[in-house]
């Protein structure tokens, strides 16, 4: 089970470089055709320094904002884990060639009685800032884990 005392705990965070080829690869993988995602000239003409990343591209490096120790301390039932929901707030698009500083934190934890037992909900928040210190986006990922009941745990 996830301990509510972990709400507010922060991860170490990371700085990542946005690579144009990785952006193009992602855009191609989701069937995008918008030239701003592929063509540097088109992106420059629209006022960007390099190709722009599609809105959900941050998921490709989301794991960087959370350190493994903190994640495992949540003690979630890994085989049951599902991505229940996802939220983004955008200040501007992510642009290839820039460096983003990611900070992760446990934003919320709650539980709910489901049909197959107790479900733990965990919201992990990640904020990205650019080199000038301005916010680029905030992401909130909701994970749902089915709690292993104590009898089941004893059998293992």
């Amino acid at each position: 089970m996830a301990d509510k005392a972990m709400i507010g705990r922060e991860a170490e965070g990371a700085t990542i470089s946005i690579d144009a080829e990785s952006v193009r690869d992602f855009a191609r993988g989701i069937g995008e055709t918008n030239p701003l995602y592929f063509d540097e000239e088109a992106a420059r003409a629209a006022g960007y320094d390099n190709v722009v990343a599609p809105p959900t591209y941050p998921i490709a490096f989301m794991a960087e904002s959370m350190n493994a120790d903190l994640f495992f301390e949540l003690n979630l039932n890994m085989p049951s884990l599902v991505h229940g929901g996802q939220e983004f707030e955008y200040y501007r698009p992510v642009v290839a060639g820039e460096k983003l500083t990611l900070k992760g934190r446990i934003a919320d934890i709650w539980e709910k009685q489901g049909r197959s037992g107790v479900l733990d909900f965990v919201v992990m928040e990640a904020t990205a800032h650019d080199e000038g210190g301005d916010p680029v986006y905030t992401s909130r990922i909701t994970l749902i884990s089915r709690r292993v009941d104590e009898e089941e745990e004893e059998e293992e």
Partner: protein
């Protein structure tokens, strides 16, 4: 055709985006480009042993389709808030369409914000990825 010429009213159903058929290849390719390590999307045998009929699509692939719909409608760089829940799984062989309906209009600091109820659905109209999004209508 520019987003700037569009006038929105609450209740408007915006032009849908037809994505087409979801294939195992598309799902596997999305795992690669999004660095999704979950083998349930790529390993047929494992998916079956877990009680699924086959591999299933990533929720985030559906969200990516909705993002494409929204940026087609509003223009790149105008999305402000985007929230979804992954309601039911999307399977290979299903045909996916993105839909958006205007739920709220707001004028803030000279900016026109349009909030839509959005979802992906299969060929039978069954909703898959469901949520809301707010974009700035550029005048």
């Amino acid at each position: 055709m520019s987003a700037s010429s569009v006038r929105y009213s609450v209740g408007d159903e915006l032009d849908p985006l037809v994505i087409g058929e979801i294939t195992k290849e598309l799902i596997a390719e999305y795992s690669r480009v999004s660095h999704d390590p979950n083998p349930m999307h790529t390993d047929e045998e494992l998916a079956r042993s877990a009680g699924h009929p086959t591999v299933f699509a990533q929720g985030m692939l559906g969200m990516a389709f909705l993002a494409r719909h929204l940026t087609d409608l509003a223009g790149v760089g105008n999305l402000r808030r985007f929230k979804v829940r992954f309601q039911t799984m999307t399977w290979p062989g299903e045909t996916i369409t993105c839909r958006a309906k205007v739920a709220n209009l707001q004028e803030t600091d000279g900016r026109s914000l349009v909030t839509c109820d959005i979802h992906t659905e299969n060929q039978d109209g069954e909703p898959k990825v469901v949520g809301t999004a707010t974009f700035e209508a550029v005048q």
